[in-house]
């Protein structure tokens, strides 16, 4: 947020003392964080403790963890989600870079048709055709496989256009220099474009990782074996460990399931913001 010239508007858009703002911010943060803090409390308790409305940490963190990790083998679900998110993030980044390259640095017949073919998919979210897709992918025999969780999501108009836009704003001299050096398109991509695009790549990576990790409807339909299931759907089986709803393990698992995307998001926050700002201004 260095864009603000310091000294002119010292306190941003609201004027006044600083401490009320601190108080308000802290209160807001607590309100926003409350659902998770409460879940953390419950994750330490037995059902009995939950029913008796105990507001101090309970006695069951270890046994809840055992329920989640050992009894329900939640680690397998975590691993599946990790693989899925990584494959999709990497795959989509590569395919999008290639598409961006083709769009910006090549002239070819029928380009506008291709562009258009990709553009139209912006208004074709998977969800509206979920039943047909379910039938189609089941027909491939891909139920319960990583293929079903990744391949359909490897390409998107979003990614292709993001790089198209980004490349289009790069100086023409880059290409000319590369051509003089006799670089192939892939070399040009790897040595020139990618190093200049880390912010955009980072931004896209955050979006894709979080999006993929948080995917729910599709795996709920196409994955049927618990051992192939992803975390968001795997949480379902934690609702009932042995008769009745078990709150503690469910809350614990919900927290565990949220750790990877939150970490990725916080780590890549900077490129995410700048990558977006770049995209936004154009």
């Amino acid at each position: 947020m260095a864009g603000l010239s310091a000294g002119v508007v010292k306190k941003g858009l609201i004027r006044g003392r600083e401490w009320p703002i601190h108080v308000l911010l802290v209160v807001t943060i607590l309100v926003v964080g409350f659902p998770v803090l409460y879940a953390a409390l419950i994750s330490t308790q037995t059902n009995g403790e939950v029913f008796s409305f105990q507001l101090t940490p309970g006695s069951a963190l270890a046994s809840n963890f055992n329920d989640v990790w050992v009894v329900r083998d939640f680690g397998t679900n975590m691993w599946n989600s990790t693989q899925q998110a990584i494959y999709v993030t990497i795959g989509k980044t590569i395919l999008s870079l290639m598409a961006g390259l083709a769009f910006v640095y090549f002239k070819f017949r029928g380009k506008w048709i291709v562009f258009f073919f990709v553009l139209v998919t912006l208004m074709m979210p998977t969800e509206v055709m979920i039943l047909a897709m379910f039938r189609l992918v089941s027909g491939f025999g891909w139920q319960d496989t990583m293929l079903a969780l990744t391949v359909p999501f490897l390409a998107s108009a979003t990614g292709a256009f993001l790089f198209r836009q980004h490349f289009a704003n790069m100086p023409v001299e880059l290409l000319e220099a590369a051509q003089i050096d006799g670089a192939t398109p892939l070399q040009f991509l790897r040595r020139v474009l990618v190093p200049l695009s880390w912010n955009v790549i980072g931004a896209l990576a955050v979006i894709q990782f979080v999006y993929t990790w948080n995917m729910y409807l599709w795996p709920r339909l196409i994955i049927r074996q618990q051992s192939s299931q992803v975390v968001q759907v795997g949480l379902q089986t934690l609702q009932n460990i042995d008769g009745g709803l078990t709150y503690g393990p469910l809350m614990l698992a919900a927290i565990i399931a949220s750790i990877p995307p939150v970490i990725v998001f916080i780590l890549l926050q900077k490129p995410f913001m700048s990558g977006f700002a770049l995209g936004q201004e154009k």
């Binding site: 306190k11 598409a99 083709a102 291709v114 039943l131 391949v151 390409a155 968001q232 949220s258």
Partner: protein, 460 residues
């Protein structure tokens, strides 16, 4: 019935070309008539003319005419665009669409760009276009998971979602469309800044709302062998509007607060935007816990501390919807804060400064300087939040209420899965998918229209 309808389409096409577009040469008028006829003929022919079969109902006929009108309209728009392009009113398609072709570009074999694009195109073709086509096919069938055969049912899966009164079915949408065009006409005829223009603006908002009312009126309230789709429509509107309104208002408020240059601002910001990374499913679980009537802190707290017995939110339609809106609004808050923070950077510091010197109140500064500067971001967020509310909300609902009580939280996407997968009724599920598809296309076109250039990339 087909021939008279096509004649009307041909005449309309000719008239449109001649008077609305102003191409009066015989060739162009004839082409207008021809494309309109083709556009109108396409839907009934694609359906194998089943809508005119003996057992079809008047509702089927109304639907067919609506499709034919839509087809003719599309055909004319395309024709007009092609003529415009030919007449050189805009640059050649290739350069504006394919993106900025850099001077020269790589001069390699013709296949090189195709090879680079091939994986993307293949995946889009197989996993987006194919299922899209199949969704339409499926929507005209009686089909069940695992059934040995399917039965063609023409438009029944659609017509049973509507009221069975052809008069009202025609009247309400026409009135709404008439209102929209009327208001637009009025807007054009009045000078901006005059009271008349302001009235026209109010009228055009009212006309937009009348479209929603008309849709409400034509969806079936149940009975007569129809599918009770009106409540699904109402739930979808309430929950979507609720999420967008709550999520964006709260997002702007929090962003405004977090934008202050105080010590530790970066830290504060991080602590406010992390819910972006939380999944809709986990949001559902967290709020399920908070609001649980037996064990949650809200009902227990109210009982223990204030002696109030909270009604079970899952028993009241209003509370259940509010709970879904709350959970989703919370989840999407981080996203909205993030973008509003980015947007606030574009607010002109000089203007704010000048306004302060002029003695403008904080509220005035907010309304007259900040809000207008944020309008592009607001618009972008409106579309992405709406997309969230249409689709991602599924997981939250699945964990919190499963559509209960009495279907009060069963929004469009939830209903599609309930009907198509949980009940295995693929045809009806596909028909409802087509409706949702239409809604998405509507929102996207509105987005293109309003924002011209911006391309959104919220995920997917």
């Amino acid at each position: 019935m087909l021939i008279p309808a096509l004649t009307v389409a041909a005449l309309f096409g000719a008239a449109y070309m001649a008077f609305a577009v102003g191409h009066r040469t015989p060739a162009r008028v004839a082409i207008g008539a021809g494309t309109a006829t083709l556009g109108a003929a396409a839907p009934p022919l694609a359906l194998g003319r089943c809508t005119f079969a003996a057992e079809s109902t008047s509702v089927d006929h109304v639907l067919t005419y609506a499709l034919m009108a839509g087809g003719a309209w599309l055909a004319l728009i395309v024709t007009r665009a092609v003529f415009d392009a030919r007449d050189g009113t805009r640059e050649a398609a290739g350069s504006s669409m394919g993106g900025e072709i850099r001077s020269g570009g790589f001069r390699l074999g013709w296949w090189v760009p195709w090879a680079l694009l091939a994986p993307t195109l293949a995946i889009l073709a197989v996993f987006l276009y194919t299922p899209a086509v199949q969704t339409f096919t499926l929507s005209t069938k009686l089909a069940r998971l695992g059934a040995p055969r399917t039965v063609d049912v023409c438009l029944t899966n659609f017509s049973e979602l509507l009221i069975q009164d052809p008069t009202r079915l025609v009247l309400y949408p026409l009135l709404a469309v008439g209102a929209v065009y009327g208001a637009r006409f009025w807007m054009r005829r009045t000078e901006p800044g005059t009271w008349n223009h302001r009235f026209a603006e109010v009228a055009s908002v009212a006309a937009m709302l009348s479209v929603f009312v008309a849709l409400y009126a034509i969806f079936s309230p149940g009975g007569d062998g129809t599918v009770k789709y009106r409540p699904v429509y109402v739930n979808t509107v309430i929950i979507s509007v609720g999420i967008v309104a709550f999520g964006m208002t709260a997002g702007l408020a929090v962003a405004y607060l977090a934008f202050q240059k105080v010590k530790g601002a970066t830290m504060y910001r991080t602590l406010l935007i992390w819910p972006y990374a939380i999944s809709p499913a986990v949001a559902g679980i967290l709020f399920f816990m908070l609001l649980d009537p037996t064990a949650g802190i809200i009902s227990n707290g109210l009982k223990e501390w204030f002696g109030i017995r909270m009604p079970n939110y899952r028993e009241s339609a209003l509370l259940a919807q509010a709970a879904i809106i709350m959970a989703s609004g919370w989840k999407i808050l981080g996203y909205n804060v993030l973008f509003y923070l980015a947007g606030l950077q574009t607010v002109s510091v000089d203007q704010v400064e000048a306004a302060v010197l002029d003695g403008a109140s904080p509220w005035q500064r907010f309304v007259h300087i900040v809000m207008p500067a944020l309008s592009p971001i607001t618009f972008f967020l409106l579309v992405t939040n709406l997309t969230y509310a249409f689709f991602e909300v599924f997981a939250t609902i699945d964990y919190m209420t499963k559509g209960a009580p009495a279907g009060a939280t069963s929004v469009s996407i939830y209903e599609i899965v309930r009907v198509g997968v949980d009940n295995g009724d693929l045809g009806r599920g596909a028909a409802q998918s087509v409706l949702l598809f239409a809604a998405v296309i509507g929102v996207t076109l509105w987005q293109f229209r309003t924002s011209g250039k911006r391309v959104s990339y919220g995920g997917g």
